[in-house]
Amino acid sequence: MSVTDQVLAALLVHGLPVLFGVILICSVGVPFPISLMLVAAGSFVEQGEMKLWQVIAVASVAAVLGDQIGYGLSRWAGPRLIKRLSRRIDAETKIKQAEALTKRWSGASIFLSRWLVTALGPWVNVASGIANYPWRRFLFWDVLGEVLWVILYVGIGYVFSNRVQAIAEILSNLAWVIAGLFVTVILGWRLVRIYAPAATEGR
């Protein structure tokens, strides 16, 4: 039996504690079939086996807590790691640039990586922690994004409650496509910036 089957069977039997535990672990960065689980929870709500507000509250708290762990750990351990690396290469200026960039863009990237580009979520937590992004602002965008994510996925499970497996399969594929598009845009932008000076030189 696959991990997915084990997790969903546990969710059926034990309910909310399993939902809490799996989402917490997943938000820290361990890959789990999380979209399937939330969609399944939505279906169980529709069938009257779980309560809607309980599912939304427990899943949101678990997701936010997991993100805080990822952020906190990288904020605590990140600078030490960077100091070690800085001795070998001149990383100081690069880090300062990265910090400035994070402070400018992190609000949007934290929010979007909670519910739209979910595959990048744990990475954004680590990046925000290392770049010393203000904790209150991180928490604000995190809570907003995670609650939206939970409501979205549980809602989809509620609406398509008789086709959990199929919908979750499509959703998780779609999440990777969105993440791929996101990275494509970033790399494409870099390519344009590489090509632009070369083009002006050539003239």
């Binding site: 039997v13 086709r163 959990v164 497996q165 199929a166 496509v177 790399l187 870099r190 590489i194 070369a198």
Partner: protein
Amino acid sequence: MLANAVGVQALLADVIPLRPGNISTATSAVRDTLYKALCFAFIQMKKLGWRQWLVVLAFVLVVSVTGLLAVRTVQRAIYWHYHQDEAIRPWMSLGYIAHSYRVPPWVLHQALGLPTKPGKPDRRPIREIAREQNRSVNEVIAILQSAIVHSRPPYPPPPDAPPDEVYPRGQPPAFTQEPPRGPTPTPQTTPEPKQEPLRGRSP
């Protein structure tokens, strides 16, 4: 540099030979632009260092993977648009299967020889039921599929509530009879009209 561009153009012309009679002016204009773009890219690429090459490589890789994933997502979405039933998985409970296949739950309970009016809802995943009944999960899935087939057209629809006493005492209903032990048990029911396949039905 110019010689290079002319060389590439000649090479491309070899790969896509010109047939003036077949190609309209518009198509050849598009192809001309494509040639120019390719020549420009080729010339510029010769100026790139290894770091820029890495970005180009990553871009091509990410675009291909994203494209493949997008195609797969669309394929799955089209598949599920035309197919109603999802496969029965070990994590599913009888309640969920009944909900997903739109049959009254008691039909499935009866098929497995479980009480049709349980005091509280049975939330066990079918792998647990299989373990309790000393059956393999595949065997339980086959029994459930047979019960589902027999409660859909051309068979008469079963009533929503379980009948109190339909069968003479001591004689189990047709689809709760012990299936033959083997890899794929077949239902032991009397007249066998044309069986509808469970998966792959159009809505």
